[in-house]
Assembly symmetry: C2
Homo-oligomer: 553 residues x 2
């Protein structure tokens, strides 16, 4: 058996190592265009910022380890330029020796990944417009960031854009982020990333949302970035990270089936339309685990698992890829945002019915020092409570809650199951009723119709003459800020002041985070009122109506 | 509807509050023997140690909140002395007014909890022998710990004993822990808590394992604790925390069915043998979720959920308790140990077939600063891979992994599912192949017979003439310490030195944590050798054979 793997990180290296474990006598050749067949690409921004001080740390599996420990025939600076499926050979260009040759294969694994998208903007080819895909990119950005640069413009506020922003700030560089969408992290729901936007501004990052770069012009000392609005931002260098595209040219030219997003089409054993050719990682189109629709999600974890599956399948082991959930996380200046499954945006786009709830718990028991706030949004099917997606933003414990919900989605659990989930509890780690349980309680009560809720967008549209907005917080909380037109009756007094609540209107109750509003809703419902609770309370309302733009500019 | 709840924390208060949400017009009376119907009992040790500085923080739901917000008729210093089921009344002693009266009920909820077990040891009734169940206990211990005490003896190394030890050390008190078992945290598997023992010793805590207190004798300035070995430990005060017993006397006297462990028997709606009487929390016998056998597990999370379920059932809502998994966590001096499901000990006792694997990953990517080591033990059914239990010990990220495995057990997932789990990955949070995935990979390979393993206890028993122990680490690692009699052939050289590996013996391969040993096992298997890999490698071997007793005494 002779296996050829095109590309190292991360799916290619996983596939090759797994293939070796499956077979001692297989001949396994890995072609890597660059110098590094296995490096920590998710660590690149942190090397730029100095958090990872040593470049060697990024070399996860040095070539010698791949060669000696796994007996892989790793050939670097070796680009596969053509796949000849009829002859089952690949054409290789060896850049070091400047020679071309062919290599036969029994099975071929394509792991060419994805490359940063560079839109046709005038001046984008300047040396002062950087990107961040591989080690040489990181070297260039490291040099730029440590050579006295004072200003940088980042085009694109996705994961990489935000991580690069944090790391350039760490280098005392003033950063402007330009993003076409109205929000950072465009695939996420806007209200969930707003705390990240606030936090970026508080750290001095200038956000230019609903904005785009229209031209790059080199100056004697740097580069001017012209924005659509007409503003020109002067910088020492710019970074473009507006997403990636599957690097599928080789596959396309070989006649393999390619999807509408440019990804190679594979079956659930990672086989392409040619059964002798597999493809894994960012180059393939995957199935969304929840939506059961084709999508393109570049993630390291799925790439690794796909590599294993391709190798297993080659050696006759049963192995199927179940789809990608889109579990993702980003940290920035100590804050964390994470998500799994479908966003509300995606569900709306796909016209899938859903309900959602917001809670604002602390990461651990409030009576133990150091508790920090988080916001958790849980999205679920209104008929049966199946969990469709979750997003969380906060300081500590965010990754834990999204990981638990990720495996809950994998297992097909419902919100009713979350009510019963038994998680670790000691006061420094969580709650006797963990945020996961709380989300389950709230969502289950909604489905059971014990807890009718409303969302902030509906309040904007509510006709005042028909609606009575009831603030059940304390008078002090009310005085500190409230929804315009609301009437304040603290929950503790509500039952004695029912005559102040109109019987002919729709009551919208709210408190700070939703809990007292829920108690008020229960009390009023049982007294015959038409009442709903504002999910997430005033805290969620503020996210939409009073973003903190006090800091930054 | 008139509901009487006997006892507050944690199940009683949950039941009462939930009952109010279910019914505005129910009459709900909560009898609390002490002064505090709802306090943070899991926080008591941290108040003693000063980590929680303010005692008020422990009053989670002050009486006024229960009365005003939930309209509960809370009566403190009011002990229910008798339940008269025929008349459906309870007899109450009001200690404040020193009067006795009766109160009728339609439904009764018993949440009397569990009380610390005090064995009949001479002198145990001394005022200098403390326990820690409620706020007055905490007040006494707080006073003792902040009144110049220099030495304390803790009898019992369960959760509370260990938490109290940490907090007394925080008060500069020298602590001796006396524990009857050979290990701390007796319900856990010994090798998994050994790092906690090492850590306690390193912090100066003296451990007396396989040891017990036989007498307490007051001295002019303190108390002498005599141990079974004959040693006498002089201390300012002692703490007894050797477990709790269900406080079921009231239920027993009322003729309710009681289990062999003293817990009140309930059905899955938390009803006792009298359908008008419910019992929740530490006083009830529960079903072990995994073993499907009756057990007694005092935990705050389950108590809260049981309270909800009892209230729901009273109001005709479908609600069933699914059993207790035993998810638990303890932190001590920055280390964390957590578990869920069945321990190996329990499975052996119950004669349930199982397999286990050990891994020693870091909490996040090793190339990102601050990664810390953890040990994860996964226990699963050998025939189908069903997850039976997990234990984890380390510094960071321990709670996250056990929470993920807790919900995996709840969902009935297998180790094959863990291979496919898609968790959050950025280098500061985890791995592209998370420890959860790694555990799934290793366990699945074992079940698929791709990866035959052996455990450290089998090596002790192995006949040397039949066994060849092969250390595949580097020569430097080997020189730093190895299993006696092992032969060193680094994995990188193994394939060229196969002639040094005997074909007529059972090969036991090992490395530091198991990964290179796995590669060696795969290579040797395919070359016709009989070979197994030592699960968890030298790290697990050291746990058993070379506990770190260098510090402490």
């Amino acid at each position: 058996m002779k296996i050829i793997v095109i590309g190292g990180v991360a799916g290619g290296a996983s596939a090759a190592a797994r293939a070796r474990r499956m077979s001692e006598d297989a001949e396994i050749v890995v072609f890597e265009r660059g110098l590094y067949p296995s490096f920590a690409n998710c660590g690149l921004p942190y090397y730029v910022g100095g958090e990872i001080a040593s470049r060697d740390k990024l070399l996860v599996a040095p070539i010698e380890m791949l060669r000696q420990r796994h007996r892989l025939d790793v050939r670097v600076q070796s680009e596969v330029t053509r796949i000849d499926r009829d002859k089952a050979v690949v054409h290789v260009h060896d850049a070091a020796q400047n020679r071309d040759y062919t290599e036969t294969y029994d099975k071929l694994i394509i792991a060419t990944g994805a490359s940063p998208f560079r839109p046709p903007i005038p001046g984008i080819d300047s040396d002062r417009v950087l990107e961040l895909r591989d080690l040489p990119d990181a070297d260039r950005m490291h040099t730029a960031a440590t050579s006295g640069a004072k200003h940088a413009v980042i085009v694109g506020a996705g994961f990489i854009g935000i991580e690069v922003a944090e790391n350039l700030v760490r280098r005392d560089i003033e950063v402007t982020i330009v993003e076409l969408a109205e929000q950072v992290l465009p695939p996420w729901d806007a209200e969930m990333v707003q705390p990240i936007e606030d936090h970026l501004r508080q750290q001095g990052v200038r956000l230019r949302l609903s904005e785009s770069a229209t031209a790059f012009a080199e100056t004697p000392s740097g580069i001017d970035v012209t924005l659509k609005s007409g503003e020109t931002v002067q910088a020492d260098f710019a970074v473009v990270c507006i997403g990636v595209r599957p690097e599928s040219r080789l596959s396309l030219e070989a006649g393999l089936e390619i999807g509408p997003r440019g990804g190679v089409i594979v079956n659930d054993s990672m086989q392409t339309s040619d059964p002798n050719i597999y493809a894994v990682g960012d180059v393939v189109e995957v199935q969304d685990f929840v939506a059961k629709q084709p999508t393109q999600i570049p993630l390291a974890g799925p790439a690794n698992r796909q590599g294993r599956i391709a190798a297993d399948h080659i050696f006759g082991k049963p192995a199927t890829y179940r789809g990608t959930q889109g579990t993702a996380i980003v940290g920035v200046f100590g804050k964390t945002a994470a998500m799994t499954g479908q966003s509300e945006k995606q569900l709306i786009r796909n016209q899938v019915p859903y309900e959602k709830i917001y809670i604002h718990p602390s990461d651990h028991a409030g009576y133990y020092p150091g508790a920090t706030a988080m916001t958790l949004k849980l999205i679920f099917a209104p008929h049966d409570g199946a969990i469709l997606g979750a997003q969380c933003v906060g300081t500590n414990g965010v990754d834990k809650r999204i990981d638990v919900l990720a495996i809950a989605i994998q297992a097909g659990l419902t919100v009713f199951d979350l009510e019963e989930t038994e998680l670790c509890y000691a006061p420094q780690y969580g709650h006797a009723k963990d945020p996961i349980n709380m989300a389950g309680f709230v969502a289950s009560n909604v489905i059971r119709k014990d807890h009718p809720i409303v969302h902030v967008d509906a309040i904007e549209q509510a006709d005042d003459s028909e609606t009575f907005v009831l603030d059940v917080r304390t008078t002090a909380e009310f005085a500190g800020g409230h929804i315009q037109g609301a009437t304040n009756i603290p929950i503790e007094e509500l039952r004695d002041r029912l005559d102040e609540v109109p019987t002919d209107k729709q009551i919208v109750a709210y408190c700070k985070v939703g809990q007292r509003g829920y108690l008020a809703t229960r009390a009023l419902l049982q007294n015959g009122y038409r009442v709903v609770n504002l999910s997430g309370g005033y805290t969620t309302w503020q996210r939409r109506h009073q973003p903190d733009t006090s800091a930054g500019s």
